[in-house]
């Protein structure tokens, strides 16, 4: 995470003391990834929030003007969602494994799949 990136795109956890583990994991990932702020702007072009669910933990990623806010739970505003068990979701994130888990039903995708395709590079660990 370069100094430059921090200035441009902020990743904020809403109420961090009450954030679940998924949100905190995502925070680290996003903060690292958004040193490349193109990833953020491409994702933001989808113009919607995204719901991420791992096991029973949910967070909503809200892409706003200056950055991303991570909200605990389902904020009811997401135009797309991705859900799976922890390992499957980390597979998506850490290794970009999306198609196979989706086809086998381990990964559940909701809403507009094109939105998710825009988001994926941003939540993909590198």
């Amino acid at each position: 995470m370069t100094q430059k990136a921090i200035e441009r795109v902020r990743v904020v956890v809403d109420q961090p003391e009450s954030m679940n583990l998924l949100g905190l994991l995502m925070k680290g990932l996003l903060a690292k990834n958004l040193s490349d702020d193109d990833l953020f702007y491409r994702a933001r072009a989808a113009k919607t929030d995204v719901l991420v669910q791992a096991g029973e933990m949910k967070v909503t990623l809200r892409l706003g003007e200056g950055g991303i806010t991570i909200l605990r739970g389902d904020a009811g505003s997401a135009g797309a969602s991705v859900a799976g068990d922890m390992k499957t979701l980390l597979g998506v994130v850490a290794e970009g494994k999306m198609v196979a888990p989706f086809l086998s039903g381990r990964l559940k995708i909701g809403g507009n799949p094109l939105v998710l395709l825009r988001m994926l590079p941003m939540i993909r660990a590198r």
Partner: protein, 474 residues
């Protein structure tokens, strides 16, 4: 005493300026400060002998200290006197690669020995305590602390294979096979071994100046897995069953606040969020060949499957290297020793725990009760636990951070720790690295004949009561 010390050590190594005395009068904990009269820096065992002999003559208390990270007020003088800082005695004097031991001085830290072994390229390793790199290996062993190889090899005092100790009269003794002319320090048997007179006594019987301790074979393949679990029973039942397979090098059980704090939340809400896993099991596996690693993972999975069949919930094991890719903060658990800045550098400056050893059969209920107590006092229930000596016992530790400058919070911490100690003692858990306030509680529960024997041994060794007086009721 000061003149003697200055003559012996040089003026620059004898300090009584307010700043130094103030620094040495407290540690991370809520322990009452206690000022030394002097702080002296020694560089070799010969100096230690001379200082001890003089202190014995003048009946001046001596408090041995190294990095003072083994918290609990262990190095805070209870009755003034001289803090003998041995941090500069930090040499690895020998590594015997054939017979798998090292001889070290008190100031050897986890990082120093790790770097030293790496430089020598010997295929040997040791365990590391969940403490910063600058923690003294020597002190942790002498205090009966633990490491991430304590499951296999016991608490770190069990790795001591010989001690060199300056007795309160200034004489020097060697223990274990080392006491025998020409013998290597390979172990504490088969002699009448008096190492026990110096281990876990908190410096009240002598000052150890050299330690031979066992190193262990490294294996070419290593894996650290994290398993998110839902609740103490899933966690501790898995821990116990895994112990029985004898295939794991380490099994840690951490409650969710540990993870959240590692990921930057200063003070997580005491109650976990809906649906989130409440414990992490982390498991170290090592192997000589890939097939061995595969077999161990298979056995691990079958233990988890068995428990899942009984209704316990687990997420699938996650490789730490995967987690690390996702969130760099997980790197704090990728390799030991690790910098625990999220515990030590949180602004408030206070860090404390009630750490106990006890039977694994009582972990579930005790963790639940301890959690309730911490929540009641408004602290996130951070639990760190681990089976030791093959699962014959384990450590159960309740950790809190707090603001040392906030008197009300310090009072809350004291009340919390007192309640935790009582609860744990009632369940047969025994506190280690015991602060003075806690010793009073423990002492009341101690077999009176043993208590008397401890006093008599203290009287035999240290009739002038110069060695860290006031600790452990001695």
């Amino acid at each position: 005493m000061k003149k003697f010390l200055v003559d012996l050590l040089g003026a620059e190594n004898v300090r009584d300026d307010p700043e130094t005395l103030s620094k040495y009068s407290e540690d991370y904990t809520e322990h009452e400060p206690g000022k030394p009269d002097l702080v002296a820096f020694v560089e070799n065992a010969g100096q230690v002998q001379k200082v001890v002999a003089k202190a014995n003559e003048l009946k001046v208390p001596l408090v041995p200290a190294v990095y003072r990270t083994n918290i609990g007020g262990l190095c805070i003088p209870a009755e003034g006197g001289v803090v003998l800082d041995m941090t500069r005695m930090d040499r690895v004097l020998e590594v015997n690669a054939d017979d798998m031991y090292a001889v070290i001085e008190p100031g050897v830290t986890q990082q120093i020995i790790k770097d030293h072994l790496a430089k020598l390229k010997v295929p040997l390793t040791l365990g590391y305590s969940l403490a910063p790199p600058w923690t003294s290996v020597f002190a942790n062993a002498l205090l009966g602390g633990l490491t991430n190889r304590s499951l296999k090899y016991g608490d770190q005092s069990a790795w001591i294979s010989g001690l060199e100790v300056v007795l309160p009269d200034g004489s020097m003794v060697r223990t274990g096979s080392w006491a025998m002319k020409g013998a290597l320090p390979f172990g504490l048997v088969p002699f009448p071994d008096l190492s026990g007179l110096f281990v876990a006594w908190q410096g009240t019987t002598g000052i150890a100046t050299k330690m031979a301790f066992q190193l262990w074979p490294g294996h070419p393949l290593n894996k650290r897995l994290f398993i998110l679990t839902y609740g103490p029973r899933a966690t501790y039942e898995a821990m116990r069953r895994l112990c029985r397979t004898e295939t794991c090098d380490d099994i840690g059980g951490l409650s969710w606040p540990a993870g959240k704090m590692m990921m930057g939340v200063k003070r997580p809400h005491p109650v976990p969020q809906e649906g989130e896993p409440t414990f992490f099991l982390y498991v170290d596996l090592t192997a000589e060949i890939p097939e061995e690693m595969a077999v161990k993972e298979k056995i691990l999975q079958s233990v988890l499957d068995g428990l899942a069949g009984e209704g316990e919930r687990f997420e699938e094991p996650l490789d730490i290297m995967t987690l690390l890719k996702v969130n760099p903060a997980m790197g704090k658990f990728a390799e030991f020793p690790t910098d625990l800045d999220f515990l030590t550098d949180h602004g408030g400056g206070g860090l404390t725990w009630i750490g106990t050893y006890g039977p694994l059969s009582r972990f579930v209920e005790t963790a639940e009760t301890g959690t309730a107590i911490m929540v009641k006092h408004g602290f996130p229930p951070m639990i760190v636990s681990r089976p030791m000596r093959g699962g014959h016992f384990g450590v159960l530790r309740f950790i809190s951070i707090f603001d040392k400058k906030d008197a009300a919070e310090v009072a809350k911490i004291r009340a919390l720790n007192a309640e935790l100690l009582l609860m744990l003692s009632d369940r047969g858990f025994v506190m280690y690295k015991t602060p003075i306030w806690a010793w009073k509680e423990l002492s009341a529960r101690l077999d009176p004949v043993m208590r008397d024997l401890v006093r008599r041994v203290k009287g035999l060794l240290d009739p002038n009561r110069i060695m860290n007086p006031g600790r452990m009721g001695l």
